[in-house]
């Protein structure tokens, strides 16, 4: 028994699109302890503390990671925290600016005063290591070319020790370097936001306390949006996600029934 693979694609497309077309929504459920850990950590930071968000992803991973960046920045701005954005990959420059400016608009946070986008710096490991000893020496200006010394958002920030939290948002194994160099060497308080494909690789870090928390793909982003009571694109997408999972489970069951039926017939 053979089914044209295009029928399966069509079924998945229909299942994913249906909740958007008919405005169906399913309840999200409670946030995982890994997501809550990041939320609680940020909640506990005093006002004007700084969190650093590293936007190491491009448009290809935007659906999963961009809502995380926006939700984290929104949470920080709502708590009157400063946000320092940066990227160690060229594509992340636009992502950082887009996420931070979108979140800042809702809370009246001003660029340079409450948040800053340090931009892109090549050299990955050397940048992470360099920031462990002197952030303003690694990033002398922000992405617009304004010297760091003139930015109130960077006041008193010298090393990871001056940051309340460092969050790495990535679709690549880049987070391993953050664990090895920023957390292990400089004891930075590190959290991760990764695509779901990579999430299982992060559990040893969580178990060992090397990551204080983890946002796992679209689900993690939606959980965080729910925690800050600001539903966004991730929350909207979770109904489709659930529908798609049920459809895939149904295909797995159908495939197995087909397999056993044809095997019996062959005997």
């Amino acid at each position: 028994m053979r089914i044209d693979r295009r029928l399966i694609y069509l079924a998945i497309a229909a299942v994913v699109a249906a909740p958007f077309v008919f405005n169906w929504t399913l309840p999200l459920g409670s946030a995982s302890p890994r997501t809550r850990a990041i939320y609680r950590h940020i909640e506990a930071l005093p006002p004007r503390s700084a969190i650093m968000i590293c936007f190491d992803y491009g448009p290809a991973s935007m659906p999963e990671l961009h809502p995380m960046g926006i939700a984290l920045a929104r949470h920080a701005f709502s708590r009157k925290l400063r946000v320092i954005g940066l990227t160690l990959g060229p594509e992340g420059l636009i992502m950082a600016q887009n996420a931070l400016s979108a979140a800042a608009k809702d809370y009246g946070a001003r660029e340079g005063e409450d948040w800053v986008n340090l931009g892109y710096k090549p050299g990955f490991i050397s940048v992470i290591l360099g920031m462990g000893t002197d952030i303003p020496k690694v990033f002398r200006t922000d992405h617009r070319g304004v010297p760091i010394a003139e930015l109130r958002a960077m006041e008193g920030i010298r090393t990871y020790a001056d940051l309340g939290l460092v969050v790495e948002l990535t679709a690549s194994p880049a987070i391993n370097d953050w664990v090895v160099f920023a957390q292990s060497r400089f004891h930075a308080k590190l959290a991760g936001g990764v695509t779901a494909v990579m999430a299982t690789d992060m559990y040893p870090y969580l178990q060992a306390g090397q990551l204080i928390g983890l946002l796992n793909g679209l689900k993690g982003a939606a959980e965080y949006e729910a925690l800050i009571r600001h539903p966004g694109l991730a929350s909207l997408g979770m109904t489709s996600q659930s529908f798609a999972h049920v459809a895939i489970l149904a295909f797995v069951v159908l495939g197995n029934i087909g397999y056993f039926a044809t095997r019996r017939r062959r005997r």
């Binding site: 659906p63 931009g119 710096k121 299982t200 306390g209 796992n216 895939i248």
Partner: protein
């Protein structure tokens, strides 16, 4: 009525944004057309993506690295937030230029110096931190007491947290035994390696489940874009086009 006026009458975004929106929608559908079968529209979108990505990368690296890390510190120190030129930059620039010596057979030995520098720096920086992060910390967190009640914890809570520790230790030993090939796998070793295999299967299953979620998320992202950003412009754009041509024909 001009085209711009027709768009404004329907409260559409500016023409440049609108073109970008429609181009993005076309490219999204063009890429997904591959699911039906390979076709020229897909090939066009694929090649465009590769070209634009490479071009974007070159421009960003040039401005953020060559200009900001080389030209500015040397020639325009005020732009780099410096009081005077930083001549130390010449050293890495020279090392970088030496890599290009590979193009000349007579001088290609020069390229070995920067490569040796990078390898030495990488190894020196990585080895201690990697051993610490991947080995020492992971081992320390694996070796936990099997029965670990915390102060004030109920018996059920203590049993649950201890169960986690037992599962961790058991899973580790059984999985390691699956990869132990120095003795024939029979008796206790066979049972342990079989249990280890189940632990591996559970890990692979979790990984596969997450992969499905990730791939679906990408599709969901595109559907969200088409539904909430592109689709609301379809009707007004068609009406604007209709009015534009109707205005010209009358």
């Amino acid at each position: 009525m001009s085209g711009t006026e027709a768009l404004a009458a329907h409260a559409l975004p500016p023409l440049a944004d609108l073109l970008g929106l429609w181009l993005a929608a076309f490219l999204t559908l063009a890429i997904y057309s591959f699911l039906y079968g390979d076709n020229p529209v897909y090939k066009f979108a694929e090649h465009l993506f590769v070209g634009v990505s490479a071009g974007y990368g070159v421009v960003i690296v040039y401005y953020e690295s060559v200009i900001k890390d080389m030209i500015d510190p040397l020639l325009r120190p005020e732009r780099a937030g410096l009081d005077h030129p930083n001549y130390w930059v010449i050293l890495p620039v020279l090392l970088g230029l030496m890599i290009l010596a590979r193009f000349w057979r007579r001088y290609d030995w020069l390229s070995r110096w920067p490569i040796a520098f990078v390898m030495g720096l990488g190894a020196g920086a990585s080895i201690p931190s990697t051993v610490q992060a991947y080995l020492i910390v992971q081992l320390r967190e694996t070796i936990r007491p099997l029965w670990a009640p915390e102060a004030g914890q109920s018996l059920a809570a203590a049993a649950w947290s201890s169960f986690g520790n037992i599962l961790l230790a058991g899973g580790l030993l059984c999985t390691l035994s699956y990869f132990y090939f120095s003795r024939e796998q029979k008796g206790v070793l066979k049972v342990a390696s079989r249990v280890g295999m189940w632990f591996l299967m559970v890990a692979f299953g979790a990984g596969f489940g997450n992969t499905v979620m990730a791939r679906m998320s990408l599709l969901i992202g595109r559907v969200e874009f088409l539904r909430y950003e592109w689709w609301p412009t379809v009707g007004p754009v068609l009406r604007a086009i209709w009015q534009f041509f109707a205005g010209h024909s009358s």
